[in-house]
Symmetry: C2
């Protein structure tokens, strides 16, 4: 089976475009394909969404809980969206809002024990999905890809800072 | 300068996680960083958004225009969101809704000549931004990354189809 055209961003790349742009469109296309598979599987197998999964992943790394502002920053989504996701998770008993001891107007979102249990299961299966999607790349390829993406990350920080310095 | 922690998804990767998962989080992190830079630059330099830019890119490849349904499919966003973006672009004179000749209830969205002109300029500058962000990767690295992402893309199609076949 070939890629459904409508989700293949790489077809945007004309032959006369710069190699870096074609490379970027290929990378964006791979990322979008994987995210799309993960979204679909989370819906089909756990009846949940990627933002809900991502929010739980944040709480798993922060057992002391996070404020709405911290969640909004870490997930790079608006406060309104965080509220909607937390409401859904609270409704299913996965998280609770814990009122602050010193400031009763403030609260942190923490995972419930049953939330932690179901997240652990989802995270394991999520990891298996990723392993499957990357399965045709031998260890050497995965390690090579990892190194090149490391270089790319350095390049992004380096060159976006240069560009920012120039405009300041 | 180091990465602002809140936008560095790679910190999600614990040392004990499978190499493929760490690789995926690094890839997602690079993609998010680049998209974030592009969003910021589109806003600062052209007072526009990534979805508006992406919609114009679709119309540039389809000079005969696209229906709202086609735009929704190609951009993988809801019909309501497409309507909102088309309204904004129509307001600035970049696109028009063209009523169908045979079916007056249907219409296609097409770029205006001034829309095409401003998109061409934006696309050139967008390409320069990408070239800058990838600048520290020598040609051999870019070509190697391109090949490995090609393998990954094949792997995604291969293994997501296998997984689907198993559950059918």
């Amino acid at each position: 089976m070939t890629a459904p055209k409508n989700i293949d961003l790489e077809i945007s790349a004309h032959a006369d475009q710069h190699a870096s742009l074609r490379l970027w469109l290929r990378m964006l296309s791979c990322t979008t394909l994987i995210e799309d598979k993960i979204r679909q599987k989370l819906r089909d197998e756990f009846n949940t969404t990627l933002p809900r999964f991502d929010l739980l992943a944040q709480l798993e790394k922060n057992p002391q809980g996070l404020t709405m502002g911290e969640l909004s920053k870490r997930m790079m989504i608006s406060g309104g969206n965080v509220t909607a996701i937390v409401d859904q998770l609270e409704g299913e008993g996965t998280v609770v809002r814990q009122i602050g001891e010193t400031d009763r107007r403030s609260y942190r979102v923490i995972m419930t024990p049953s939330g932690r249990q179901s997240f652990t299961r989802m995270a394991q299966v999520h990891e298996e999905w990723i392993v499957e999607l990357f399965a045709d790349l031998i260890e050497q390829d995965q390690s090579g890809l990892n190194d090149l993406l490391g270089k790319l990350k350095t390049s992004i920080y380096q060159n976006s800072n240069n560009a920012m310095a120039e405009t300041e």
